[in-house]
């Protein structure tokens, strides 16, 4: 997992996000998690828990205040994976 680039992480995130109703045909690096996919606070928390387990990292919930798009989330995950290594 640690070798994934942000672009590869974006692809992985699409897999986590595709179950949400507004995801179909709406997933791109600049897709906004809250505004475009209508993810509420509970959806976001569940998503983070899944991502944490997938990459074996800790993603603080407060971090989401600074993250709007799928790309921004992927970059943050990449940093945390790198820090862990």
């Amino acid at each position: 997992m640690s070798s994934e680039t942000p672009e590869e992480i974006i692809e992985t995130l699409y897999g986590f996000l595709e179950r949400f109703p507004k995801a179909a045909g709406n997933l791109g690096p600049d897709t906004k998690l809250a505004d475009d996919l209508s993810l509420d606070s509970v959806n976001l928390m569940e998503l983070l828990v899944e991502i944490e387990d997938h990459y074996d990292i800790g993603l603080p919930l407060n971090m989401m205040a600074d993250i709007t798009t799928i790309r921004e989330l992927a970059v943050r995950i990449s940093q945390l994976v790198e820090d862990k290594a």
């Binding site: 509420d40 606070s41 509970v42 959806n43 928390m45 569940e46 983070l48 828990v49 944490e52 387990d53 074996d56 990292i57 800790g58 993603l59 603080p60 919930l61 407060n62 971090m63 205040a65």
Partner: protein, 399 residues
């Protein structure tokens, strides 16, 4: 973004509820007939959504104590305890809580929400680590968020998942704060507190429990689920509210650490808020005596809870958890939940309609909260209403 857009967001929430024909502003209790019955929309309605667990809101001794305090100490405190002074009744109630729990420290706050906010804002700073149950109440999330600490969720009621997340914190797990609740207010399930506490201690973390819905309801003497699980001497901070079993308004925190008292100098929601009114303090104090001295209330509450739980199960409803003072009926869709909620009101039964994100994990719930003040006859009328509502449903929610 602008304030105009904020208004639009809130209007969208309101319109969403109205589209379900389930605007909570419809619920106005015009006149009370008893602790468990009020007139709503000109109709006598059984209240099964009030958190009045011990049914004490109309207890004559409690009302008398509140009235006496109002006559002797006035209608309000007009300021905060740090800026404008404490009343002796504040200190007396804190001493009573400390005695009840056998701890050196107790502090009062003006509401239950502010209790958790006040504790977390005082204890945490940016960079600190918190691991909390994913079903935690909004005030716990808000306290963590405002503090600037890094907070992580563990899977609801899952000690192994807590262990995994603490392990990921590495050295920072030591000194982290783990937070759980006793009875979860939406699903009505209880936490495996002894197991969670053991995991927290294994990593050298602090352990905090919110007993807002479990105080007065669990434990041999009513001190909550920590008492029932035998971990009172291990939990670092226990919080609770006056607005449920204690039939008043306010909140408390107790701790085995005498340093809790230092929060008076560092908790902004304590320092910068008016203290609880004399009537609220007196009512809570009198209700606390009832918790200690009238165990029959708890027994009646549990008898009512078991009767409603068994009855709903017998009707084929899917319930979120085992018997407890909170019984949540799971409904497949928001629309169906709203239809049933309205139909129950038409039958003279008020329950809580809970839709996401207030209800965890995408569920829609019809939440019933029992009271020691309910009679078996009322429980049976509630069950009859649920039976009628189900019979009228196009899509039954039977298991």
């Amino acid at each position: 973004m602008s304030i105009t857009e904020r208004f639009a967001e809130m209007a969208q929430v309101r319109d969403g509820l109205r589209s379900l024909a389930a605007d909570p502003s419809r619920i106005v209790m015009e006149r009370f007939l008893s602790p468990t019955e009020a007139v709503i929309g000109n109709r006598p309605t059984i209240l099964v959504g009030t958190n009045n667990y011990l049914g004490l809101t109309f207890d004559p001794e409690i009302i008398e104590a509140a009235c006496r305090a109002m006559h002797e100490e006035g209608s309000g405190t007009t300021g905060s305890r740090m800026a404008n002074g404490s009343f002796s009744s504040h200190a007396a109630l804190e001493e009573e809580f400390a005695r009840f729990y056998g701890v050196p420290s107790a502090m009062l706050f003006s509401t239950g929400y502010q209790t958790n906010l006040g504790l977390l804002m005082a204890l945490l700073r940016p960079g600190d680590k918190v691991v909390l149950d994913s079903h935690s109440h909004a005030c716990i999330y808000d306290g963590c968020r405002i503090s600037g600490a890094d907070f992580f969720a563990f899977k609801h009621n899952d000690p192994e998942d807590l262990r995994k997340r603490l392990r990921r914190l590495g050295g920072a797990a030591e000194g982290a704060l783990v937070i759980a609740e006793g009875l979860y207010s939406m699903w009505g399930d209880t936490a495996p507190l002894a197991d969670l506490c053991a995991v927290a201690k294994e990593f050298g973390a602090w352990f905090m429990v919110d007993e807002a819905h479990s105080f007065g309801v669990y434990g041999e003497t009513g001190r909550g689920l920590c008492e029932e699980e035998g971990i009172l001497d291990q939990v670092d901070f226990i919080t609770g509210t006056f607005s449920k079993s204690l039939a008043s308004l306010g909140g408390f925190c107790v701790s085995r650490h005498p340093e809790l008292q230092l929060l008076r100098y560092g908790s902004r929601p304590y320092i910068f808020t008016a203290s609880s009114s004399p009537a609220s303090i007196a009512a809570a104090h009198a209700a606390l005596k009832a918790v200690r001295g009238r165990p029959e209330l708890k027994a009646q509450l549990w008898a009512n809870a078991r009767r409603l739980h068994a009855g709903l199960e017998g009707l084929g409803y899917r319930l979120a958890s085992g018997p407890s003072p909170v019984i949540a009926v799971q409904v497949p869709s928001h629309d169906e939940a709203a239809r049933m909620w309205n139909a129950l009101l038409d039958q003279g039964v008020y329950v809580n309609l809970v839709v996401p994100p207030a209800a965890p994990e995408g569920a829609s719930l019809l939440r019933c909260s029992l009271s020691a003040g309910h009679t078996f006859e009322q429980i049976d009328r509630i069950l009859a209403a649920f039976e009628t509502v189900r019979a009228g449903a196009a899509t039954a929610v039977a298991q």
